[in-house]
C-alpha cells in the first residue's frame, strides 16, 4: 500500500515512525501519516485523480503542489474548493472529489 513512500533517503535519512490516521476519499478509507497533505497521502496510496473538470469531465490530479493552480481542489468535510496540496490530513477527514465553486 505504501510503496510510493520514500522511507529511506540517502541524504535526507530514514522517515521516523509517524502516527497513522485514516481519511476517506469518495467513501473509500486510506491510510495517511500525520504531517501529510491530502494530496501526498492519496498519492502515497496510488490515487492520482482528485476531481473531474466541471464542463468537460476530464480527470484531473495535482499539478503545482504548492497552492497556485487549484487543480487539486476537493471537498473536505462538506467545504468546497479546498486545495488538497495545502491541507494537512486529520483523522476521519471526509474528502470528496469534484467540488464546484
Amino acid at each position: 500500500m505504501n510503496s510510493m513512500r520514500v522511507t529511506d533517503h540517502p541524504i535526507l535519512g530514514t522517515l521516523e515512525n509517524k502516527k497513522q490516521v485514516t481519511i476517506t476519499f469518495d467513501d473509500v478509507p486510506y491510510p495517511a501519516f500525520e504531517g501529510d497533505t491530502i494530496a501526498s497521502a492519496l498519492l502515497a496510496s496510488g490515487v492520482r485523480t482528485l476531481r473531474h473538470q466541471e464542463d468537460k469531465g476530464t480527470p484531473r490530479g495535482i499539478y503545482c503542489n504548492i497552492g497556485h493552480c487549484f487543480e487539486c481542489r476537493v471537498r473536505v468535510n462538506g467545504k468546497n474548493t479546498v486545495r488538497a496540496c495545502l491541507t494537512p490530513v486529520e483523522g476521519d477527514m471526509r474528502i470528496e472529489s469534484g467540488g464546484e465553486l
Binding site: 520514500v6 522517515l15 485523480t49 490530479g61 495535482i62 503545482c64 503542489n65 497552492g67 497556485h68
Partner: protein
C-alpha cells in the same frame, strides 16, 4: 498596528523577518504552505566540495532563528487582498485582517507552464510539484518519469528524484510551437545548459568544454543525448503528446533537427507513469499588482517585476519586495535581499539608531557578492538588467519623495 507583515515564508521572507526583528520590530510572516521555507524546502544539491545542501535543514535554521527573535509565523494562511491605509497597509487573509506600518511581498515565483497535448491528465505535474512530493512529503511522484523541458531546474530536480528512488526515463524538449518559444529550440537550450557548468557535475563540464559554441554543440549533439547521473538529457528529441486514458501511460516522442523540426519517421512511444513539465519560473506579480505597484517587463528576470530600488522599496510608501518576486535567482540571493528589505523597513521605522545607511550598504553589497558567487545562473544578463531597474526605482522613488 504591527510594524511589518511579510507575505511568504521562504528565504527572502524569513531573512527579512530576522533582520527586522533584530532591531526590535514586531514582525508577522504569513504563508499558504503547510511549512515555512518556501522553495528552499525542496532543494537538495551537492556543492563542488562534495557537501550536500539540504534545503529543509536550511529552512529550519531560518525558522528557529526567527522564532527566537519573537517573529510570529503563520502557515496555511492565504492573502487575498491588500489595501493602502492613510498610514500603512491592510492585509486581508483567510485567517484575519492585519494592519501594518510596512508590508513586504516575498511571494516568490510560480512555475511557467509549457502546454503539451495531454498535459491535463492526472500524473502530469510541474517539476517543482514532483520535487516537493519527493523531498518534502517523501512520496514518489511515480515510479518512472519523463521530464519535458531541459533547463537548470529540471536537470537538478531529476537528480533529486533519482535520489528518492524514482527512475527518470528521459529529459527532453517540448515541441516547437507558438507557446513553447525558446524552450523547444536545441541551440537556445544548449546555451542555457552551458550556464549550468557552475553546478559542476562532470559530464556537463566535459560536454560544455568540448562544444562551447551552442550552435555547434546543438548540431553535434548525440542523437541519443548524453547522460548525467545516468539520466539521458536529450536536446534532439521532443515530446509530441502525453498519452493515457485516465492517467499518464506514456509520451509520444520524435527526433528533431538542431533547429527544432521533427524528423519524419522517428516517432515512438516511451512508457511512464508520470510526466513533469519544466518551463522555468515566473515572478508572482498578483499582490503587487493589486497593491498598485508599477511594473517593468524584463524577460531576463522572468517576467513582470514591480519597480523597486536597491533597498527593496517599491514606488509605494511602506511597500517592499524581496526574493523571486523581484526576479528569478537562487535561494541565497533571495535570503540576502530579504536582509536588505528587513533593514530598510527598520530604517523607515527609525528602529536603527546609528549608522543605518552604512549597515544597509553592507547588506546591499552582500546581495551583489552572493549573486556573483551563485552556483546556478538562471538567466544571462541578470546584473545588467537589475542595475537598469534600480535606476528606474530610484528615480520613481525620488519623484515620490520630492512631491
Amino acid at each position: 498596528m504591527i510594524d511589518l507583515v511579510i507575505v511568504g515564508a521562504g528565504p527572502a521572507g524569513l531573512g527579512a523577518a530576522i533582520s527586522a526583528a533584530e532591531y526590535g520590530l514586531e514582525v508577522c510572516v504569513l504563508d499558504e504552505f503547510v511549512k515555512p521555507g518556501g522553495r528552499l524546502l525542496g532543494q537538495l544539491h551537492e556543492e563542488p566540495d562534495g557537501k550536500w545542501v539540504n534545503g529543509i535543514a536550511e529552512a529550519q535554521k531560518l525558522y528557529y532563528r526567527a522564532l527566537q527573535l519573537g517573529v510570529k509565523i503563520k502557515c496555511g494562511v492565504s492573502v487575498y487582498d491588500i489595501a493602502k491605509l492613510e498610514s500603512g497597509w491592510c492585509v486581508y487573509t483567510t485567517d484575519q485582517i492585519y494592519e501594518t506600518e510596512c508590508l513586504l511581498l516575498a511571494t516568490g515565483a510560480s512555475e511557467t507552464p509549457i502546454p503539451v497535448p495531454g498535459w491535463t491528465l492526472p500524473g502530469v505535474m510541474s517539476i517543482g510539484a514532483a520535487q516537493v512530493m519527493g523531498n518534502v512529503h517523501r512520496v514518489k511522484p511515480g515510479e518512472k518519469g519523463i521530464i519535458i523541458g531541459v533547463n537548470v531546474l529540471s536537470v537538478a530536480i531529476a537528480r533529486e528524484l533519482q535520489l528518492c528512488g524514482v527512475h527518470i526515463e528521459s529529459i527532453l524538449l517540448p515541441q516547437s510551437s507558438f507557446v513553447s518559444g525558446d524552450s523547444a529550440h536545441p541551440e537556445k537550450m544548449m546555451e542555457s545548459l552551458l550556464r549550468l557548468t557552475h553546478l559542476a557535475p562532470s559530464p556537463l563540464i566535459r560536454f560544455g568544454g568540448k562544444w562551447v559554441n551552442p550552435k555547434i554543440g546543438a548540431r553535434l549533439y548525440p542523437r541519443n543525448g548524453f547522460k548525467m547521473w545516468g539520466i539521458p538529457i536529450q536536446l534532439r528529441k521532443t515530446a509530441l503528446e502525453i498519452l493515457g486514458e485516465y492517467q499518464v501511460e506514456g509520451v509520444r516522442i520524435a527526433d528533431i533537427s538542431a533547429t527544432g523540426e521533427v524528423v519524419p519517421g522517428t516517432e515512438k512511444v516511451l512508457s511512464a507513469d508520470f510526466v513533469c513539465i519544466a518551463g522555468g519560473l515566473t515572478p508572482m506579480s498578483e499582490l503587487a499588482s493589486v497593491a498598485g505597484c508599477s511594473f517593468r517587463y524584463i524577460p531576463e528576470l522572468g517576467g513582470h517585476i514591480p519597480i523597486h530600488n536597491e533597498c527593496m522599496q517599491t514606488n509605494l510608501k511602506g511597500l517592499y519586495v524581496a526574493g523571486n518576486i523581484t526576479g528569478v535567482e537562487s535561494a541565497k540571493v533571495a535570503r540576502a535581499q530579504g536582509t536588505v528589505a528587513g533593514l530598510s523597513v527598520a530604517r523607515e521605522l527609525h528602529a536603527i539608531k546609528q549608522r543605518a545607511d552604512e549597515i544597509i550598504d553592507i547588506a546591499k553589497k552582500e546581495v551583489i557578492d552572493t549573486r556573483r558567487n551563485a552556483l546556478i545562473q538562471f538567466q544571462a544578463g541578470i546584473e545588467r538588467e537589475r542595475e537598469e531597474l534600480y535606476d528606474k526605482g530610484n528615480n520613481v522613488f525620488e519623484e515620490k519623495i520630492s512631491v
